[in-house]
Symmetry: C2
Subunit: 470 residues, 2 copies
């Protein structure tokens, strides 16, 4: 499927190896390429004569030891995957060694000595793509799957890896091809009576294609949320305890602060996983320092934060803030934010400084208000519960295809542009030949998603973000 238009850089037929695991009790070392079996036959000796590696069938495991001709390095399990039935589509061996750094180093050294080369990041998956075992969007999903840290991001990556997304793109592609056939038909019959019917069909199909491409493009915003977490902004005046609150939330939940490789998110974000839901705290630069933020956050900067967020936590100092001040702030928000999907939660901080709960804060302006002491970590769980409740309200079972990858997003936008050109051409009664140019452009951009057309630069960008051994 993939790889037909590949350039030389990746068209190597050497044999590669890499550890596919990094710690624990065992280390799995992967070897892939035409020489894999030959090399293993040389450096591996089965524990029992009856279990010769050379005669082993595919998908079989055998116990034995790795040696360098002089001495034994480790007792290992060797698994054989023959040719087309392997992950890469090449001959593959997986060695399961004891996870000692010395052993791993020695086994790799022996492999190098036998002209097996260290794999580049993602090179096993790249080979799987080149050998038609998966298309490019599936390969990209493998990296997403390994990085998945929440239920939502896992579901998305898993569905994409299993080919749901590719199938959708293929269907879209088929519609474009159908359209091209109709164009030809339309041209054939252009002088006859049937013209009108086929022209309507043409327009209907084009509308359908446009709608589907548009839907995919629009799903990207949601895909981003599902993949990277629900964006949350903490805002408030200086010294109300924003950084203390952030730290309290992260401590409370024994935060898994994620760093997803291969994504282009802002560096100043903190992600926390609560009950398998990812929340992404946007623009936390400065907030993660100990002590409070030394910053006079203006309305413009605040609004930028709010713009990026789906949940906004407005923090104020309950011991110093008047009811009027809060009402003014909320009015300001309501004027500036027209997005009804944004959830605003008021956080009354520093309740440890209060003698008693002031009456005027009760049932605050019909907005959800949570009273906390960030410093003493009081009621933080009420806050995280509220985040979870908000997330649950916004969640639906996603069976529609969603775009999560900015490369796909770009390709779809380019596709849409080309489709619009086709429509314009149709409106202007352009000849079939000329329409075909824009149709080809649309097909080209769609094809780049699944890798039917690609080049070294695209591949380089995709696979350099993989981890070694995948």
């Amino acid at each position: 499927m993939g790889g037909q238009k590949m350039e030389k850089q990746y068209l190597t037929d050497d044999t590669i190896c890499a550890p596919a695991t990094t710690g624990g009790a065992i280390t799995v070392i992967r070897i892939s390429g035409s020489k894999a079996f030959e090399v293993i036959d040389k450096i591996f000796k089965a524990a029992y004569k009856s279990a010769d590696f050379k005669k082993l069938e595919s998908h079989k495991v055998v116990l034995g030891y790795i040696h360098d001709g002089k001495k034994q390095i480790d007792e290992v399990l060797a698994t054989k995957f023959a040719g087309k039935k392997s992950y890469t589509g090449e001959d593959v061996v997986e060695l399961s060694c004891h996870a000692s750094p010395y052993i791993v180093q020695e086994v790799l050294r022996i492999l190098m000595d036998n002209k097996v080369r260290m794999a580049r990041p993602g090179e096993f998956t790249l080979r799987a793509f080149m050998n038609g075992k998966m298309d490019l969007s599936q390969a990209e999903a493998v990296a997403d799957l390994v990085a998945a840290n929440s239920k939502a991001s896992h579901n998305l990556a898993f569905r994409q890896m299993r080919g749901h997304f590719s199938k959708n793109i293929q269907e879209l592609r088929q519609q474009l091809v159908d359209f091209a056939s109709l164009i030809e038909l339309e041209l054939d019959f252009s002088e006859e009576d049937v013209e009108f019917a086929s022209r309507k069909k043409l327009y209907d199909l084009l509308k359908k294609i446009k709608a589907e491409v548009n839907r995919l493009i629009n799903s990207f915003a949601k895909g981003n949320v599902l993949k990277h977490g629900i964006p949350v902004a903490i805002i408030g005046k200086p010294n109300v305890g924003k950084s203390t609150l952030l730290n309290a939330i992260f401590n409370e939940e024994k935060a898994i602060v994620s760093e997803i490789p291969g994504t282009t998110r802002d560096a100043i974000e903190d992600t926390i996983i609560i009950d398998n839901i990812a929340f992404r705290f946007v623009d936390t630069a400065g907030l993660r320092e100990s002590g409070d933020e030394i910053e006079n956050i203006g309305m413009k900067k605040t609004m930028e934060k709010v713009q990026q967020a789906a949940i906004v936590l407005y923090l104020f100092d309950a011991s110093r803030t008047s009811m009027e001040e809060i009402c003014d702030t909320i009015d300001d928000f309501r004027k500036n934010i027209d997005d009804k999907d944004k959830k605003l939660i008021l956080i009354a901080n520093k309740i440890d400084l209060l003698q008693e709960m002031p009456h005027h804060f009760k049932n605050l302006v019909e907005l959800e208000t949570i009273f906390v002491s960030a410093k003493r970590k009081e009621n933080i769980q009420m806050l995280t519960d509220s985040l979870l409740k908000t997330a649950a309200a916004g969640a639906e079972e996603e069976n529609q295809t969603i775009v999560t990858n900015s490369r796909h997003y770009e390709a779809l936008k380019n596709t849409l542009e080309a489709v619009k050109q086709v429509k314009k051409g149709l409106d202007n009664n352009l000849s079939g030949d000329l329409l075909a140019v824009d149709l080809r452009t649309a097909l080209y951009h769609l094809g780049s998603i699944t890798g039917e057309v690609t080049n070294d630069e695209i591949l380089g960008n995709i696979f350099e973000k993989f981890c070694i051994g995948k």
Copy 2:
């Protein structure tokens, strides 16, 4: 072989699971126990109908996915190891999943839901021991092997895991059994003429046994060096740059500072691996802080350090120290240390402060002297080269059995004690019945090494030091 005298705590026949790897591209999850196949059959579906897990033969791998009855969690490879042919001696399945924390958590959750329990540290190896797949000293070697960070420690652990050490202990045990037979013979013939000959044989055998036990006990010091690294002490007056030198050495070599689990070394040691040789810097408390050590190291404390070391680096400030002072120090050493195997290397530090190399330091007292600037990291490699040269001079191909484990060392000392009692009894013409008591004690202690006799406490101590998944 093992486990006959086991108590209830470990005699469980439930099914256990744990990840055997912690990071990278894939995660291997191990499941062992009588229900392993039944559970996998329920939660795993093969990708192809022809490859049903239930019908799969042992040592075969099959592609499929893990599900919880409702949704698919991950595409995995499942490997089947049937009963006695597995690592643990029970039915074992290894699942090779994508290494996402979410996936691993979900797969473990589904296993728990099916009454598979999380394994305790080392529990797989414990079961291998209980099912007679290896003896106790081999099981201990598995942990040592995973922790091995140098060529020497790897060789020791690998030989021990492969049963070399056990074989030696078995031979020793056989000699004790032979001795017991002779005792009986001697008693049978005690009233007759043949007495003298058999008595000589008795004494010869006892001497041989004592010598062998003694040799093993004495090998422990060397075993310790091979396992944990060659002990190196850095000594010198205050402010000569000891901590700076230590840091310079560790920076230069991009130190692999090892933390070997399950060893009882002092916490204040730093290990560095240079060319696969481990060097253990003893008593570096305070030295690892930045800046120089604020301490007035007295001769007693210095001598304690020196006592523990095989290589002593005597550091002095080349810009301030007189020849006489150095000669006095060396004389002091020679008086206090009678161990010819200890290597003393003089390090003249702070050469950056010298205008030119002073003549009186050349060919310093016939001792190897290295001129360095720890601060500027000059000539540090000369020093590490010298460490390597010293190590190479002390290394021999080790084919003799060496004791590396303090538990074995204790057991051997107890064995020796019992053997000495036997000899005493023999000298005092004790009856065979009474000699047999001490013989049994000797056999008991030897048997505790390989686990022929053991108890929950010993097992607990050994396996709690393993990592999870092994």
